[in-house]
């Protein structure tokens, strides 16, 4: 069986055509070029760039990161180069043939829309992801993605602001992820990305302070994978728009789990820090998995989980 039929790895993520379903997650892959020494970006489906705000933003004071069991905490906040510098400086540096998804991140809905507008029509940007895990200043620090009404308004406004495929990245810090997914679908989102980091706190028992200068932070990495898989599965039961699965992915087996739970594509996040070529390894591993199981198209795995009693 050496001469296996080539596996079809292409997927359509809400109008974004991907070479393969392995993307990298916003905030864990910089603006793409940083990984040039470690992997050929054309080996992966594409990448989601660091979330952009209208103006360049300075982040939180250090310490911004801390380790946790099988995970890490971060409180980077809004630090980014701003939408203009991204377009004029970062995008041109990305090799041809690499699929770029831009990410938007703001403190009020109008500014979100403005970021989406500016990114629309820019060559090289294949789609937008709006990060709804940002605290909404007007709702007293509640995340946009934690309130169905606010989320609905955000998605509606962003949808009007851009003609690009629009992914909404949901917050995991909610009671009913399916409800949030339905809001996105109802307001015309092209797809859903989940999960973002889980709100968390780590404490130094010696100094009696949080390990992060900001106090709270986001937990990411393998620790959250079982939570992410549950949410992806729940969202996939609630909506029919495509889902991009995120959370602790560090191997092709992990990626397969997300596909089985209903994700059309996946994003590798924290693992990029540990092993900067990991996303390409995951993509290659998916092909090996498909060959081993005689699966002609990777997308045949999507939602193929045999869930008991269904």
């Amino acid at each position: 069986m050496k001469q296996s039929q080539a596996v079809d790895t292409t997927v359509d993520l809400g109008g974004i055509s991907l070479r393969n379903p392995v993307l990298t997650a916003s905030g864990t892959f910089g603006y793409g070029t940083e990984f040039a020494p470690f992997l050929d970006l054309r080996r992966i489906g594409g990448f989601v760039a660091k979330s952009l705000t209208l103006e360049p933003r300075v982040g939180n004071p250090p310490p911004r990161i801390a380790e946790a069991p099988s995970g890490m905490l971060n409180a980077i906040s809004l630090e980014n180069v701003g939408v203009e510098a991204f377009i004029s400086e970062k995008l041109p540096a990305i090799p041809e043939g690499v699929t770029v998804i831009a990410s938007a991140f703001e403190t009020d809905i109008d500014r979100y829309a403005e970021v989406c507008k500016r990114l629309t029509g820019v060559p090289r940007i294949a789609g937008l992801e709006i990060n709804a895990s940002c605290p909404h200043v007007k709702s007293g620090g509640i995340e946009f993605g934690q309130d169905p009404a606010v989320l609905g308004q955000l998605v509606r406004t962003a949808r009007q602001a851009t003609s690009l495929p629009l992914l909404v990245k949901l917050s995991p810090n909610v009671t009913h992820i399916g409800e949030m997914a339905r809001v996105c679908e109802g307001e015309g989102a092209s797809g859903i990305s989940l999960i973002n980091a889980v709100q968390a706190l780590e404490v130094d028992p010696e100094t009696r302070r949080p390990l992060l200068a900001n106090g709270l932070g986001g937990l990411s990495g393998p620790a959250i994978r079982p939570i992410a898989l549950r949410m992806v599965w729940q969202a996939s039961q609630a909506v029919s728009i495509p889902i991009c699965g995120i959370g602790g992915i560090g191997s092709a087996a992990d990626a397969v789990k997300f596909l089985l739970c209903g994700a059309t594509a996946v994003q590798v996040g924290t693992s990029n820090y540990l092993q900067p070529s990991i996303a390409a390894d995951v993509a290659d591993g998916l092909v090996a998995y498909a060959e081993r199981h005689g699966i002609p198209r990777i997308r045949d795995l999507v939602g193929a989980l045999e869930f008991p009693g269904r």
Partner: protein, 283 residues
């Protein structure tokens, strides 16, 4: 002499990622360890650069805790027939380094490097004073070695007690003037290394210029920065913030700047003009 001095151009050696074989990993005194890794396609490095090492040897089965790699200065590297032997000098500070100390010859440690910008080299004729303490001693060996014989240079080490000093013999072998200050007087003079720095600055005439390089605990670096400023001597400090990635993508290693905003220690440093750092806000 030009060959002895390195380039700091932005485009340095392209970093590599390898599962490097442990050649040697031995304890040298109470908490100081020396690790030698065989790295097949090591592209060379410049003084001040570092690498990200996995916390502990890679095992047959993947373990996800502890998760993050640890930044470590490249102490020294020797290129031979089957790749380079890359040397790391480290102290056991917590879980990651405790696990690293258990890595046995023949086992593998994941390494990503060399990373970061090199120390800016001194200007021709500049008199160099290197100040180091704690794990910072590991960060300045290559600097001292490249300057030795090529530049007027002296070294000042500070420690709480004698056994905290790492690799003293390596530095002595460089035949550079070296002074030690310990808080308990168990080696060199009793006192702080910053007192040695003040004396050294008093003793040396400004002449064709002086330059300080410092790497050590934050308090030591901050005090050196103050002394340098008072004496109007340029001072380069190598910071040791906690890191997740090591190559500028997680934005975790931010160092506050005096002018406002942050620099990334892994990308814009680890070596910085000490005057540019907002020492009060550095954790």
């Amino acid at each position: 002499m030009a060959e002895a001095i390195w380039e700091v151009s932005a485009a340095g050696a392209v970093p590599i990622r390898a599962e490097a074989e442990v050649v040697r990993n031995v304890s040298e005194g109470p908490s100081s360890w020396r690790l030698v890794l065989r790295v097949p396609s090591w592209p060379g490095f410049r003084p001040g650069q570092f690498a990200m090492l996995s916390a502990g040897a890679q095992q047959a089965a993947r373990r996800t805790d502890p998760l993050l790699p640890r930044p470590m200065a490249v102490y020294r590297a020797e290129t031979g027939v089957d790749g380079a032997e890359v040397e790391i000098l480290y102290k056991i500070a917590g879980r990651g380094t405790a696990l690293l100390a258990e890595a046995l010859p023949g086992q593998r440690v994941a390494i990503v490097g060399p990373l970061g910008r090199a120390f800016p080299p001194p200007r021709s004729g500049e008199r160099v004073i290197i100040v180091a303490g704690g794990t910072g001693i590991a960060s300045v060996y290559e600097l001292a070695a490249r300057l030795a014989g090529a530049h007027p240079v002296e070294i000042l080490f500070g420690a709480r007690t004698a056994s905290d000093l790492m690799a003293l013999e390596d530095f002595e072998a460089l035949k550079i003037p070296l002074q030690v200050a310990t808080e308990d007087g168990s080696a060199g003079v009793r006192g702080l290394v910053t007192d040695l720095l003040e004396s050294a600055l008093e003793a040396s005439a400004p002449g064709s210029g002086r330059r300080i390089y410092v790497c050590g605990p934050t308090a030591m670096m901050r005090r050196c920065a103050d002394i340098a400023a008072e004496n109007e001597v340029p001072c380069i400090a190598a910071l040791e913030n906690a890191m997740a990635c090591g190559f500028g993508v997680c934005l975790g290693c931010a160092a506050p700047l005096r002018e406002g905003g942050y620099a990334l220690v892994c990308r814009d440093g680890p070596a910085f003009d000490a005057a540019s750092i907002d020492w009060e806000r550095l954790p």
